[in-house]
Amino acid sequence: MNLRGNSLKNWLLGYVDAWDRFWFTPRLPHALSILRIIAGVMLLYSHLVLATDLTAFLGDTAWVNNETAMQLHDGTFGTSDFGRTYLWFISSPTLLWVHHGFAIAVTACFAMGVMTRITSPLAWFLQLMYLHRLTGTLFGFDQILTYVAMYLILAPSGSCYSVDAWIRTRFASVDRGRFWNWLFPEAKATVLSNVATRLLQLHLCVIYLFGGISKARGQTWWDGTAVWYSVSNYEYQSLDMTWLSDYPRLFSAMTHATLFWEIFYCALIWPRLTRPFILAIAVALHAGIALALGMITFGIMMIAANMIFISPESVQHTLISLRRSSQHAEG
């Protein structure tokens, strides 16, 4: 009995140990810093595009005006939710422009890594407020962009490849105290970088798993025609791929590969043996969506998010190699 009790205890402790190692092993911030640059630029682009027609999407004369946008969330039509935003209450176009200018400035700082400890949560919060206001005009790009920005808050993503890192190096000789070190963190391995990485990795697994499961409920993802029907949708189309109809083996193979890849992503992305193949398919699939289905922003963000499975050491070494080779080329 005692022996059994001990082995059960050891077995459970093994799991606790594995959990702790999975979540709390310190990790370098380099991959997250690259992701910060990509997410920041995409967030900035999204705000700039919105600025080209701002009052068509925000305010009292928008496609979905302030009152209707609020009613979609506040229970007027039966369902009330917590997708709340102060933007429902801003009617003045001038104030909307000032707010949008502020959002653009914050996002630009986030992308460049200026005061990232402050601009990172602020950029995410502003994005979230826009999302709750823009109900009815959102798609997958907005989702993945917001999730990446959300997880980056946890990590010191401004500790390298940033203006913050330059400031830290520039004033390295003087110890300015704890607040300074928090504001301009050192690019070292931290538990929070690991937690942010793990959360994004698992979130991607959830996205693909349910993406796959919902496809598996359809017929065309099983009979192999879904890819053809996707590329033949004129409103999505950015590259004419209707010639695929002459190659049933090709489009059906693409359909089956997409379905099985999405369902099994959550399992096959973890072993080192299968990870490169899964990531290669992710790049091919999302590049295809970007080029053929007109969702360049979504494709870029999904590829960038998938790079979270590449170790920060690899990112660091790749960038150093690239820098050396460019110096050689210049020399």
Binding site: F24, N65, F77, L131, F141, S214, S230, E235, T297
Partner: protein
Amino acid sequence: MDSASIPINKRVRLLFSILIVGHLLALVLPPLSVQTRGRIGQSPSVSTALEWFESYSQLLYIDRGYAFFAPDPGPSHLIQAAITNPQGKRIERMYPDRDQQWPRLLYHRHFMLSEFMEEIYQPPGPPEELRQANRQEAQYWSLSRSRYEHVRQSIVDHLKYEYPGDEVAIRRIEHLVPDLIDYQQEPVQLTDERLYRVLLDQPIQQEASK
């Protein structure tokens, strides 16, 4: 690295672990509730579990179903607007329109808006039989119809703002994807007028009797 050399103490790890598990449940339960919806509504066990995390998921916008191009890729839905000035001259606009909305992200926002109009569409009603048989369902019908009408009116108001003094009427258009076998036998342009159909806004009984 073994767990003994992790640089945070057990209490903090436990606190973090609880928060992590809570967040993961808030991630998984919304898409699970979409997939487990059936004849009795949401799965009772999933909806009970979701109640604890729903507000958090909604607040963080992680209450999504992730059903991209699922269960099957289908037709697109557009908004067609007829704008008539006081002199009786009429122009027609289609939303989305690649020639009018650029860059692509702006076009896609208009596309999602027209798809949203279709997604929330509820025919006029509810039918009298439903009103008598199931008051709750009938009330839900009325609210859904009201939601559609408010969004529709908001879109009309926006166009009236864009074209001051003009009369504006909008309707929903479905743009079909050609059937694969038909297309293999006789390829057509994806913009062939036979692939567009007007979606009428009328009570269900009339649609059924047509």
